[in-house]
Subunit: 187 residues, 2 copies
């Protein structure tokens, strides 16, 4: 792993715990057993660190959405695949995902604009899948915005929950979460 990668990984951990604004370059350097000045041989500044962490994981979602849209399964199956996608990314990029969720508003300039665009496109694509599911009679004919809000609220929170889970519990989650989100908890 390159030194830059190590810095990004350590920064993501610290940002997750304390938030971007509360972590100083000295904190980050100390966590890496070096001095703050040395960080600048690998990155241009604090903002570049934040932008790299967030945009990398944002592009993971975009790529995943593209793959789901390519196949020609039912809307229900696509929704299931998206739920699995969120679980996978939460497992692989736990810290970066936390940073994306809590510190995106501290992005500045072009990276901020890019993040906003990627998020808007992702939500629009998700909405289209839900709408086609309603048309096909797979989902109840209720407010699409409310459906999307409920799904994304839970999917965006998975990273808070996943690190505490064992491998078998995660396997259970991959089965139960689509069930709970799509068919409800009432018996």
């Amino acid at each position: 792993m390159t030194r830059k990668r190590q810095i990004l990984k350590t920064a993501a951990q610290l940002f997750k715990e304390r938030g971007y604004s509360a972590v100083t370059m000295r904190d980050l350097a100390a966590a890496m057993d070096m001095k703050a000045a040395s960080l600048y041989n690998h990155i241009s500044g604090k903002q570049e660190i934040l932008a790299t962490i967030i945009l990398e994981v944002a592009h993971e979602f975009t790529t995943g959405m593209d793959m789901v849209e390519e196949n020609d399964k039912s809307a229900f199956a696509k929704a299931e695949q998206l739920i699995i996608l969120h679980i996978k990314i939460a497992l692989e990029y736990t810290d970066a995902l936390a940073v994306l969720n809590t510190d995106w508003m501290h992005l500045e300039g072009a990276p901020y604009q890019e993040y906003i665009t990627l998020r808007k496109e992702y939500e629009l694509d998700f909405k289209k899948i839900l709408e086609s599911g309603i048309k096909a009679g797979e989902f109840k004919a209720m407010n699409v915005e409310t459906m999307l809000f409920n799904l994304l609220s839970t999917l965006r929170s998975i990273y808070l929950w996943i690190p505490k889970k064992s491998a078998t519990e995660v396997a259970d989650l991959k089965k139960e979460l689509p069930q709970i989100l799509l068919t409800g908890i009432s018996s």
Copy 2:
């Protein structure tokens, strides 16, 4: 409204937008058309502002939960009432709720401990209601932790969504959200 109330209200707005660490006492003073030094005639410091904002709304949840537990309705009805409680608080305390959700980790000392205790108790009470619902056959016999996680993820995100809604849309939400969360979206 007292000067202290005005400060708390303005601070909650700013903390919601930019986060606790990124808002300075000068920012807060400027938003109130005064100088930073003058703030200290009304509050002891930045931490007191944060603690007051968060603990006030945290106690709203505790009080609401106590009221729900007192009645002897079904677990399903209690869960419905809790969903309505979250919507009501999200409407009345939108900014404070955002601060509670995103900046609780910046609390220090006794207020931090109190918040953690209140949250733990609330989640435990909620879990008990879900468990009694499973026992009574009202809910599916699935993992209670997963059920609770899903419900709280959505309920904790309502504040992000509510300010954009009209009065009629909020009325719809009070009907559709319990339905979506408890009976699912599949037709």
